[in-house]
């Protein structure tokens, strides 16, 4: 029964303290306002760095540093004013040569180099602390499947034409494609051929008096694949759009089967962010059908002639357009907004990909002198109540924004007019550049915290941690004297370790997380209280001081372990089943339990042994 620790234990303790202090240190340094410049396709290099440097220097804007960091150029400034001024300048200068640069405002941690070289970074602050937007977006899977079946229906038609199968009609609706035949024989023959060619589908046959049908739908694997690719394509489109918005360190992550989490730290104009992210706007180019008289007749009867569809123009007048599309928004690779030099109205200049350019060239060449229309398509959502259940209903708004006579053969590049405002032109250009969403998305949850509230949350959280912490330290010192002071060292170390662990794992620190830290501070004392009370008890039983220390730690250990393990189990359950704020809380609680057990048992024992071990002691200051 000797209260001595082997040297290796002290070495271990010192090692852990050192690591803890190093990785907690980055949190002491603040953040610099900065610009982060990346390119959506290429890696930026020294050339761009020098370019940006000369832009800033020619305008006399002071910056603290400029460096190449991974695949971006990072420029630090002393003030936010300089940062904002520089952002406007650099954007203008870079965008004029290449629209694919992304210039984002950012707060870069001012961690010294020797720390970053050790991979020591400050804690990652949640949006409730740094300000920003959190969206949970849901993909409308039904319409994703519908769209893809629509495409498939077209394919089936041309396949059957090629194979000379005589079908009556092909129609897609209700998540399946229905093909109608006039005899059982053709139907059966068609099925054999189709089944052989299309392995992703399920075929169901039916018939009535005069018609024989095949209903085609995706089989389970194909359906799964369609859903997966729908959400993945949407995520990549969202990423492009977020890049267009110029957000530093965005988080775009899949959550579950149908949802995507989008986190945009530091975004101020949330209204615009919302519009851009959820927008489904795209364009289609179609040839015009018939004459004005036919358009009016179609509007009056509500029936469009075969091969055409009735559309509305922005002024409310009708127009008939051919059913077959010349090109769709998918084939647009570049778009920039500007002002039309002739009319002075906003316009968007468009660049097509090779396939789209070919088709555009061919069709416009054959149709010179005829009118062509630009159709603007957007999906909107509304909630309606059906049988007491809330349901989301999608409506598609289509509008012909421009009808113009084809004067010349168009090809890769051309521009369109007919937009209401420069803002509309700018947003449309952005959406065309970023690509269309495969399926519409709707925001099902939003959490926006303004930058001022974020700062306030940090300040208040910090203050309450400090005050609570100091009160506990004072109380412990008064109540347990020397042992209390030892416990206080352990408590401080516990706080340092928690910060270090949160920093190392780059776990997101949220407001509930701070509350978790505060609570852990309160509860971390518990282990020491248990030990010290036990030591006092042993002394009352008449044990010698050394024996009391030994027995105190020994007997309290079981209790501490039991109590902490049960709480830890509760924390794991919270983490597993909880969401956002609850998870943040659970993480800090778990970290706190582990580090407080270490510091309160191992840490204090090491110090107590150092003080009382190897000595004749008659009284303990407890």
């Amino acid at each position: 029964m000797v209260n001595r620790y082997a040297p290796w234990r002290y070495i271990l303790l010192i090692l852990i303290i050192t690591i803890g202090v190093i990785y907690a240190t980055p949190n002491l340094y603040g953040e610099d306002p900065a610009l982060q410049i990346t390119h959506r396709v290429n890696l930026v290099d020294q050339g761009e760095l020098n370019n940006i440097k000369s832009i800033l220097e020619s305008e006399g804007i002071d910056y603290q540093s400029i460096e190449l960091e991974g695949n971006n150029v990072l420029v630090r400034f002393a003030s936010e004013d300089a940062q904002l001024k520089a952002a406007t300048l650099v954007r203008e200068a870079l965008y004029s040569s290449d629209r694919r640069y992304v210039v984002a405002l950012n707060l870069a941690p001012a961690t010294p180099e020797w720390l970053t070289s050790l991979n020591a970074l400050p804690m990652y602050l949640g949006l409730d602390l740094r300000g920003g937007v959190h969206f949970l977006m849901e993909v409308d899977m039904e319409s994703a499947i519908e769209k893809s079946l629509n495409r498939a229906a077209g394919e089936l038609r041309s396949f059957m034409r090629e194979e000379k199968i005589r079908y009556k009609a092909v129609q897609s609706s209700n998540q399946k494609i229905g093909i109608r035949f006039t005899s059982a024989e053709t139907r059966d023959a068609a099925r054999l051929l189709l089944e052989d060619e299309y392995r992703d589908y399920e075929f169901v046959e039916s018939n009535d008096d005069r018609s024989w049908f095949i209903d085609i739908s995706y089989n389970a694997t194909a359906l799964e694949e369609e859903r997966r690719s729908a959400i993945e394509q949407n995520i990549s489109t969202l990423k492009n759009r977020v890049n267009e918005l110029g957000v530093a360190e965005p988080v775009i992550q899949r959550q579950g089967d149908e949802r995507v989490v989008v986190q945009l730290p530091g975004v101020q104009d949330t209204v615009r962010a919302k519009e851009i992210l959820g927008a489904t706007a795209t364009l289609e180019f179609r040839l015009v059908h018939g004459s004005f008289a036919e358009w009016s007749a179609a509007q009056a009867s509500g029936k469009a002639p075969i091969g055409s569809r009735l559309y509305m123009q922005s002024d409310g007048s009708p127009v008939l357009l051919k059913r077959s599309v010349i090109v769709t928004g998918d084939q647009i690779v570049g778009a920039a907004s500007g002002i039309d030099t002739q009319s002075g109205s906003p316009d968007v200049s468009i660049t097509m990909n090779a396939k789209g350019a070919d088709r555009m060239a061919k069709i416009t060449r054959d149709n010179i002198g005829k009118p062509m229309a630009v159709v603007f398509i957007e999906d909107k959502f509304e909630f309606v109540e059906v049988d007491g259940e809330r349901q989301r209903v999608r409506t598609t708004e289509t509008e012909v924004i421009n009808v113009a006579t084809i004067r010349d053969q168009l090809s890769k590049r051309f521009h369109i007019t007919g937009l209401d405002s420069t803002r509309e032109a700018r947003d449309l250009a952005l959406l065309l550049r970023a690509g269309a969403l495969r399926a519409p998305m709707v925001i099902v949850e939003e959490r926006t915290v303004g930058p001022s509230l974020g700062q306030e949350n940090i300040d208040r959280g910090f203050l309450s941690v400090v005050v609570g912490f100091v009160l506990v330290l004072l109380f412990m010192a008064v109540y347990y004297k020397l042992f209390g002071l030892v416990a206080n060292i352990a408590l401080t170390l516990n706080l340092v370790l928690m910060v270090a662990i949160l920093s190392i794992f780059q776990a997101t620190l949220t407001l509930p997380g701070i509350a978790g830290i505060v609570l852990t501070v309160g509860m971390a004392v518990d282990a020491n209280v248990l030990i010290f009370e036990r030591i006092r008890e042993e002394i009352r039983l008449g044990n010698t001081p050394q024996a009391a220390i030994y027995a105190g730690y020994g007997k309290a250990f079981g209790t501490i372990a039991d109590a902490n393990i049960t709480t830890f189990i509760a924390a794991i359950v919270l983490f597993g089943f909880g969401t956002g704020p609850i998870q943040g809380f659970a993480v800090t609680l778990m970290i706190g339990i582990v580090s407080s057990m270490f510091t309160a048992i191992f840490g204090t024992r090491a110090v107590i042994n150092l003080i009382y071990g190897r000595k004749q002691v008659t009284r303990l200051a407890i």
């Binding site: 939003e446 309450s464 509930p512 509350a515 309160g522 209280v529 902490n564 049960t566 359950v573 609850i582």
Partner: protein, 309 residues
């Protein structure tokens, strides 16, 4: 053999304590069924918009402006200070969507000359609200089950039931007080309730640990006496830990700001109730279920020194 600084007959009061707890729980349940919880948009769905003005503002003009645009049922109130305004939109089937908050912000902006600062926007779709309620409820339920199993495994099933009884007691009473006072119940309060579960459990386990130890050590006393001795031995630790925890929770309550007010309140109630329940509810339940020395003896093989007389 057994040393205690104090020797209070806690168990003498176990019947009045049971009645007291029973009454509190009954009142809580009645309130929960009649007044219900003042649940926030996290669970019901809806929107909250918090804006800051440059100086103090009157609420009436804002209400009127909103009413004119068809937001007559919006709740408008000051939040924190007279220059900060909180607008709560009750869930509405037709209008519930994220774009709504943009509309309101535009409207407020138009009605005010100076720039307004958007401090917070929360929108929760009805579907998500339902899921959060379900997930939150399940989290509590699973936590209780996991604890029940662990304690049954480490101690004995009567202790396990005792600790869960104490937890249910704490959760019901904390919820009851939130219901009676009609305090805002949001996601952070749910997190606090879960923390209370963890805390109260911690307390209970410490007492049970001592009861188990004493059952193995003391042979010539009744179960009731053993429990009484154990509570006496642990009471100073129970109160100390509660006190230090209260210190920090109170600092959260007073300094943490509006955003964690409800959270801190739930913790304060929970720590107080949790401390009481680990002394009276958990042990009394175990006693009523007939816990006795023979249930806790270690198997012969394990030569634990503490098991020896």
């Amino acid at each position: 053999m057994v040393s205690t600084k104090n020797n209070i007959d806690f168990m003498r009061l176990r019947k009045p304590a049971m009645i007291f707890s029973g009454m509190l729980m009954l009142m809580s349940l009645i309130s929960l069924f009649t007044l219900k919880l003042n649940v926030g948009i996290d669970f019901t769905g809806g929107s909250i918009i918090e804006v800051g003005y440059q100086q103090a503002v009157e609420l009436e003009p804002i209400r009127n402006a909103l009413e004119n645009q068809g937001f007559g049922d919006a709740i408008v109130q000051h939040f924190g200070s007279a220059s900060e305004v909180l607008i709560r939109l009750v869930p509405d089937v037709d209008k519930d969507k994220a774009e709504l908050s943009s509309e309101i912000i535009g409207l407020l902006q138009a009605a005010n000359d100076a720039e307004i600062d958007v401090r917070r926007v929360d929108f929760v779709g009805p579907q998500v609200g339902e899921e959060l309620t379900e997930d939150g409820g399940l989290a509590v339920l699973y936590a209780l089950i996991a604890i029940l199993i662990y304690v049954a495994f480490r101690f004995e099933y009567r202790f396990s039931l005792g600790s869960v009884a104490a937890l249910v007691h704490d959760v019901v009473i904390t919820l009851g007080i939130f219901s009676v006072l009609q305090l805002d119940f949001d996601l952070s309060v749910l997190a606090a309730i879960l923390a209370v579960i963890g805390y109260s459990l911690n307390d209970t386990i410490v007492v049970f640990d001592r009861v188990r130890e004493n059952f193995r050590k003391i042979r010539k006393k009744t179960s009731l006496e053993v429990v009484n001795i154990s509570i006496n031995q642990t009471i100073s630790r129970t109160l100390m830990t509660s006190f230090t925890t209260l210190l920090v929770v109170l600092s959260l309550f007073f300094l943490g700001g509006e955003a964690i007010h409800a959270f801190a309140m739930a913790l304060i109630i929970g720590v107080l109730v949790g401390t009481y329940s680990s002394i009276y509810v958990a042990t009394t339940t175990a006693l009523v279920l007939g816990i006795s020395r023979s249930d806790l003896l270690l198997p012969e093989k394990e030569g634990d020194e503490m098991a020896r007389p």
